[in-house]
């Protein structure tokens, strides 16, 4: 993202001031409410209560927000009744919460996938698994996104 570090500092400082004063942050950033909408869109209206068999793996600190590795997996036989249909990944603090939706089939063998995503700032990454029997699991991890030293 081509904002220079001066702007980045200003943005976060400005956002902090806005938040403290009770104003909504600048429209370029999604928020918890927009992410909730996205979650409900995927699940058909509910907020899943627990992680259950779903594991979301992210680094604690992202060395650079442009390329952050992320893995999801669900303990599942991936056959018969025990099937994972899809797993969605959302980023609560990005301009838009959607990151990717992985779709599985019986030929997947395992319900697991790894990719690399962009995170605009320190935020929660959320994974939601949709089972074939209509159950949902949700896991959430905070990823700290840092600004490089000299901005270079």
């Amino acid at each position: 993202m081509k904002i220079n570090r001066r702007q980045a500092l200003g943005l976060s400082a400005g956002a902090a001031v806005f938040a403290a004063a009770g104003f909504r942050a600048a429209p370029a950033v999604a928020d918890v409410a927009a992410t909730e909408v996205a979650i409900k869109e995927f699940t058909g209206g509910i907020i899943p209560a627990e992680a259950g068999k779903l594991t979301l793996k992210t680094p604690e600190i992202a060395e650079n927000g442009n390329t952050v590795p992320v893995s999801v997996s669900v303990e599942s036989a991936m056959s018969g009744d025990d099937m994972v249909e899809s797993i969605a990944i959302l980023a609560e603090g990005n301009p838009n919460p959607g990151v990717v939706v992985f779709s599985f089939t019986p030929m997947s063998g395992a319900a697991a996938a790894t990719t690399r995503m962009r995170l605009a700032k320190t935020q929660n990454v959320i994974a939601i698994a949709k089972m074939a029997d209509g159950t949902f699991y949700m896991d959430k991890k905070e990823v700290k996104v840092t600004i490089g030293g000299c901005g270079g």
């Binding site: 390329t67 959607g98 779709s103 089939t105 697991a112 990719t115 690399r116 962009r118």
Partner: protein, 108 residues
């Protein structure tokens, strides 16, 4: 970069019913639509929005992709194969272009 180039890593052989790991990478800027150019105009979004892996004509795994996926998108996933055949990988660009790769596997 020039024409997006895919890279795929599939084991050459597997046992019937074995769960194998497949890794894929493709060169692509994944222009998010968030960036502005030096004149302040928004650079239009242009990303790979869909990735599919088929085996002998049947879908194994697929991704619906948003601009939050990094440039040079990487996907790692699993497949369980019962017979020998060909994996076909397809990446679809916002502009309609389709990029493909294929890898054979021998199942013993």
């Amino acid at each position: 970069m020039a024409t997006p180039r895919p890279r795929v890593k599939v084991p050459k052989t597997a046992a019937a019913g074995e769960v194998i790991t497949i890794k894929t990478l493709i060169s692509h800027d994944m222009e998010s639509g968030q960036r502005k150019d030096s004149e302040g105009n928004t650079i239009p979004r242009k990303i790979i929005n869909k990735f599919t892996c088929d085996f002998n004509g049947q879908t194994v795994f697929s991704c619906d992709i948003d601009p939050a996926i990094s440039a040079n998108p990487y996907f790692e996933f699993n497949a369980k194969v019962a017979e020998s055949g060909t994996f076909k990988f397809t990446w679809v660009d916002d502009d309609g272009s389709v990029y493909e790769a294929e890898e054979k596997i021998e199942v013993k």
